[in-house]
């Protein structure tokens, strides 16, 4: 079994892995960049190793530095989390070559599934259903226009090395192709160093349904049912649930079998997620994420299985020890991602310092969070700050519980997408389960759902008045003339006190 685990990641996922490792008696090693010196993962791990640098490329993406950290700290295994090096086959090979246990799939499986074009060819050969489109990247925008004539509009242009919603454009007519191709290709080049694009049919009213799978090193594999991730904008997920309101037990069995088939075709080991597009009773293979997913907690809540624990067990060579009949789903779970973004301003990224923080609690509420007061939210890292997860015996109670938890949550200093999630949960279409991947973008986020705009105006004004009065009554005030006081009361700006990092170590929870 693993004794000391290096987590090649940051943020909430690093913390998530550290927690399970500690419960299993495994020591954890955090690595951190300069801005993350006081981050929660750095403070919660048994050992912390500085990588230096501030951008991801100088720190968490620097393979040599990460391996040096493993050697220096005596780690015997590496968990990559998600993002960063999680789907980098070269990194996996280096970890294995250094004699360490790699908590992830074999490098060849990462490579096979990592190239979206290659993976579609593999899946077609393995008999897994795929969306109509070209299996080859196209040379330029003109070639894409030609290819589109056969596939039919609307077309979805995708980066062949893509992921996370980057390098994707929807093209509804021929005239939009040239500019969409250029932008998406440039985005892909910047994000992945590979600007190759391929076109495929874009399904209208599609739902994004994915299957969680787990394989051991002895040829055993199980699936843990589906997750529904259709509440997204710009292909970034916001609300996820397990199970999906549209998947019947029969469909679940078919999709689960297809997902296992997909995994077996590449000799998969460890935890993985097979993403499908679901449209009107049909499902098509989209891609396989060869890592733990952001939204894995909803599966954990419904199946009662700690997926990180299973990852660490099978990476150590242990057999799964159970088969499909042992997996059962109980109740309903919903997750909301708390991103630093402004829903009123079209979900533009928001930056700042976390000035105050109130996290929800109560029965069946789980929060996987990297937030603490004084934390700087910049542009260097992913805007996802925390995940709020609830469980309920059925979908309606899970929705009510999530609504209640979101109302308790308060993150000050940056805007978050939480109000948008509240809005989604209150919509009749979401409550009835009748939604697709375009649902979130169809909502007007500037609407005042609570109708408390007047109260907010009064609170802000009274607050300003109180601060002005307090300042006017301060000891130094007596030395000023009355007219000076009056002028100051009216025209001084009083910033709220901002917290100093580390001032109150326990204050983050």
């Amino acid at each position: 079994m693993i004794k000391r685990l290096l987590i090649a990641n940051r943020g909430e996922i690093a913390l998530r892995v550290i927690r399970t490792a500690r419960e299993m008696g495994i020591e954890s090693v955090a690595i951190y960049s300069d801005p993350d010196r006081s981050a929660l993962h750095t403070r919660f791990a048994e050992l912390a190793y500085p990588l230096g640098g501030s951008t991801p490329a100088q720190s968490y993406l620097d393979v040599d530095k990460v391996l040096a950290a493993a050697e220096a700290t005596g780690a015997d295994a590496v968990h990559p989390g998600y993002g960063f090096l999680a789907e980098n086959a070269g990194f996996a090979e280096r970890v294995i070559a250094a004699g360490l246990t790699w908590v992830g799939p074999p490098p060849d499986a990462i490579r096979g599934m990592g190239d979206k074009i290659g993976s579609r060819q593999l899946m077609r050969a393995a008999g897994v259903p795929i969306v109509p489109g070209l299996a080859e990247p196209v040379a330029d925008a003109n070639a894409a226009v030609e290819a589109a004539k056969d596939i039919g509009y609307p077309i979805c242009l995708k980066a062949s090395a893509g992921g996370g919603g980057k390098g994707i454009r929807i093209v509804r007519e021929e005239s939009e192709m040239a500019s969409a191709f250029t932008q998406a290709s440039a985005e892909a080049q910047a994000a992945f160093g590979d600007g190759r694009m391929y076109p495929e049919r874009y399904l209208d009213n599609p739902r994004h349904v994915e299957i969680q799978v787990m394989f051991d090193a002895h040829g055993n594999g199980v699936h843990f049912g589906e997750r529904e991730c259709s509440i997204q904008r710009r292909h970034q997920k916001l609300v996820e649930e397990c199970p999906s309101p549209v998947i019947t037990p029969e469909l679940r069995e078919q999709m689960g079998e297809a997902a296992l088939q997909a995994g077996r075709a590449v000799g998969y080991q460890g935890a993985g997620t097979v993403e499908f597009l679901y449209s009107k009773g049909e499902f098509f293979f989209l891609e396989m994420n060869t890592r733990l997913q952001v939204e894995h907690p909803v599966t954990e809540m419904v199946t009662g299985v700690d997926l990180v624990r299973e990852q660490l067990r099978v990476a150590s060579g242990e057999p799964l020890g159970y088969d499909q009949s042992a997996i059962s789903m109980h109740g309903w779970s919903i997750e909301v991602r708390i991103n630093a973004e402004d829903p009123v301003a079209g979900f533009l990224p928001s930056t700042g310092t976390i000035s105050n923080l109130r996290l929800p609690g109560g029965p069946w509420v789980r929060i996987d969070s990297a937030l603490y007061r004084g934390m700087e939210v910049g542009l260097n890292y992913d805007p996802m700050l925390a995940k709020l997860i609830v469980w309920g015996p059925d979908r309606a109670s899970a929705i009510a519980r999530m609504t209640r938890a979101l109302q308790e949550l308060n993150v000050g200093g940056v805007s978050t997408g939480a109000p948008a999630a509240l809005r989604v949960l209150s919509e009749a279409k979401f409550r009835s389960g009748d939604y697709d991947t375009h649902f979130l973008e169809s909502l007007d986020m500037s609407e005042d759902v609570l109708g408390l705009s007047g109260v907010a105006a009064a609170v802000a004004t009274v607050h300003r008045w109180q601060l002005a009065r307090r300042s006017a009554l301060a000891p130094t005030a007596g030395r000023r003339e009355a007219w000076t006081n009056r002028a100051r009361i009216q025209h001084t700006r009083y910033p709220l006190p901002s917290s100093s990092p580390g001032a109150e170590p326990g204050g983050n929870q």
Partner: protein, 172 residues
């Protein structure tokens, strides 16, 4: 004292009157029984409106910030009468058109226009990359590009000036 408060784009008039040490509050002409108590000096407040209790947080400064109530975020701007007059005068001096600013920090990837170019309303002027997403920054009006404050490859702060657009002269 009268205040003009804009909350998520909606205008309110709030009037505060101090009488015998008590604060009387009216919002859009209707009186409101409101108490606001600071909880921790860090931005959390206990608010009671007509016996309804709310856990509220306030951030930003006293002129421009946000109030969060039950998970909803209300961005506000407050002007008193004098500030309102001063700001209105400043706006009048600026005329039509004006400066397009970065709404978020990012990196300018490509400039799509040059100084002197005629632009249509909603025409993309440059591409700003933030959080690894490419965003087209569009012209708010039809007019002429008067000045460009950034170069391709430049990192900009949120609120930084990008491009200045001059509206065409009013036709007589």
């Amino acid at each position: 004292m009268k205040y003009f408060v804009t909350v998520n784009g909606k205008d309110h008039e709030v009037e505060l009157t101090e009488r015998l040490g008590q604060l009387e509050i009216s919002v859009d002409g209707a009186s409101m029984d409101l108490s606001v108590a600071d909880v921790d000096g860090l931005g959390q407040f206990a608010v009671v409106v007509d016996r309804r209790a709310y856990g509220v947080s306030i951030e930003g400064d006293t002129h421009d910030g946000a109030v969060c109530i039950a998970g909803s975020r209300y961005a506000f701007e407050i002007e008193d009468e004098r500030e309102r007059a001063a700001n209105a005068a400043a706006r009048a001096r600026g005329g039509k058109g004006g400066v397009v600013k970065a709404v978020m920090p990012g990196v300018v990837v490509t400039l799509l226009v040059e100084v002197g170019a005629e632009v249509e309303e909603d025409q993309p002027m440059l591409i700003l990359e933030a959080m690894k997403m490419q965003n087209e920054i569009k012209s708010p009006i039809a007019g002429t590009v008067e000045a460009i404050f950034v170069e391709a490859g430049q990192a900009v702060e949120g609120g930084a000036k990008l491009v200045s657009i001059k509206a065409p002269a009013e036709e007589a």
